[in-house]
Symmetry: C2
Subunit: 194 residues, 2 copies
């Protein structure tokens, strides 16, 4: 560890907010919403609208030089979209087990080793959702078994097709774009991780 | 346009959901929350918890081979994080103008041309937030002028330092990771876009 790197230093001015109160607004099946009152570094107060989410997993799986995607309807977008296999964490579930579960449920593929690429916040300004993004190795085909209220269709695209899907807006979410970047990097350097 | 590409075809089975009703739960300063009742492709019904968000912009800016980042406290995470300059769209605001505004407000840098890299959904399962991610060209230094309730500190990291910040979890959000992937790709190929 190089303590001298600038990002290791403490900020030259205080940045932290102090939580003064938390009001629970909504508890749903997937998300909950709370409003925090905070004290800013200058002593003033402000409110923060915060979505709590259980977290999710996503899987970058390449089979015979094609990326495995699922087509699915997304109600917030009001249309279908192509995404890498993904899903919410069940309570107490290990992220790697969840990734294996989502991959087989949505696509039928089972895998050997899973390699954690990144765990990242999707939208740290208002949500605490973290996605654990894995690369799946040693894929084996099988039968998909999606959840009862989940309707998905498996697609396997070459890099060229995936890039066209991006340009057409058929791939348009953060985790899937990041996965395509990681795949491209792997083609160039042999590594998936930046 | 190659109509024969698999991702251009209609799904072999229906995937779309029909909105039956929308209940507004909360209208905040930043997000709103609604519950939609939908009819699934098999005729059954389900509910969807949906966050509406005005959208945001983010800027990948490289100055003398260093990425421009801001350190800021994120209440949903309960800690500080390094992110590329970013912010919410004002009502009716053009995303490119918003990107220029956020860059100068948070970092003091002005820029010439802005190149749209991707517009992407951060979390399409429950939110309609879209981030428009730009690459800034022709940077000029100046004075930062953050919003009144925004406390940020400018940092400029080399690729090596950025990668260490990722491994330490100091960079841990989707847009900033995607920006580092795009920067790495640019070093390898001359292109920022995958």
């Amino acid at each position: 560890m190089k303590e001298s790197l600038p990002h290791m230093k403490k900020p030259s001015k205080p940045l932290e907010e102090e939580t003064l109160s938390t009001e629970s607004i909504f508890q749903g099946k997937v998300v909950s919403l709370q409003i925090d009152k905070v004290r800013l570094p200058d002593g003033k107060t402000a409110t923060r609208e915060i979505i709590r989410h259980p977290g999710a997993v996503a899987v970058l799986a390449i089979k015979e030089d094609r990326i495995i995607l699922v087509d699915q309807y997304r109600q917030p977008m009001g249309r279908c979209e192509l995404e890498i296999p993904a899903g919410k964490l069940e309570p107490g579930e290990d992220p790697m087990e969840a990734a294996k579960r989502e991959l087989v449920e949505e696509t039928g593929y089972t895998c050997g080793r899973l390699e954690l690429l990144h765990s990242f916040y999707t939208s740290p300004g208002f949500a605490d959702e973290v996605i654990h993004l894995y690369v799946a190795h040693d894929l084996q085909e099988g039968d998909a078994a999606p959840d009862e209220d989940e309707f998905v269709e498996l697609l396997e695209l070459t890099m060229e097709e995936a890039l066209e899907a991006i340009s057409q807006g058929r791939i348009s979410d953060a985790k899937t774009l990041m996965a395509v970047y990681a795949w491209k990097l792997n083609k160039l350097t042999g590594e998936f991780r930046v």
